[in-house]
């Protein structure tokens, strides 16, 4: 099994991507709604990633 080394950013992006896909599939009833919800979730994940990263950066001094 090859070893993979990801940065915090890459790992959290991949986590956000796969989680958004599953959330989109299971929560909505039409394909259009599913895609919209998956994109919406992914967007909020990105906002949280950047927001929390900046918060930690600024809080660290």
């Amino acid at each position: 099994m090859p070893k993979m080394t990801l940065s915090h950013f890459e790992a959290s992006l991949l986590f956000a991507l796969f989680t958004s896909i599953v959330l989109g599939i299971i929560t909505k009833r039409t394909d259009r709604e599913r895609i919209r919800y998956a994109v919406y979730c992914f967007g909020y994940f990105l906002v949280a990633i950047f927001g929390l990263s900046w918060l930690m950066y600024l809080g660290h001094g």
Partner: protein
């Protein structure tokens, strides 16, 4: 409690095989109910999450009790890992279980392995709802 007869659960023979198959193969319940696109996406997402976890040398949890935090983390992690179905069973059988070591990559790997199981629980619930007619 199901007061409305329309809310009553159908016989287990109708949904139990679907849920069991959905546990064993992520997205399998959807395949069984002729929803291959959704099943394929669920399978790809859970498989990618699990394989990335293994490639980052994440650890699979073992049942361990002690203080409340240890019990919650280890037993919860073990249950979540178990819900990855065949991926978990194969990883255990083929010796891909890694020792829990320090480092952010290993730590992410462990979280990815747990998250794969949690995502499969969501997929199983979705398959259950489709099998019982609560959802299309």
């Amino acid at each position: 409690m199901a007061d409305n007869p329309n809310d009553a659960l159908p016989p287990a023979s109708k949904w139990a095989p679907v849920v069991a198959f959905a546990w064993l193969i992520p997205g399998g319940g959807h395949f069984l109910m002729k929803r291959p696109a959704r099943g394929g996406l669920l399978l790809a997402s859970v498989a990618a999450m699990f394989l990335l976890g293994l490639m980052m040398r994440g650890a699979l949890f073992q049942w361990q009790t002690g203080d409340i935090l240890t019990t919650v983390i280890y037993c919860g992690g073990f249950i979540a890992n178990l819900f990855s179905g065949l991926f978990y069973l194969l990883a255990r059988a083929l010796g891909y279980n890694q020792p829990d070591v320090a480092g952010h990559v290993h730590d992410y790997g462990t979280k990815f392995l747990v998250a794969a199981g949690l995502l499969n629980i969501l997929a199983m619930v979705d398959a259950f709802e489709i099998a019982t007619g609560k959802k299309e």
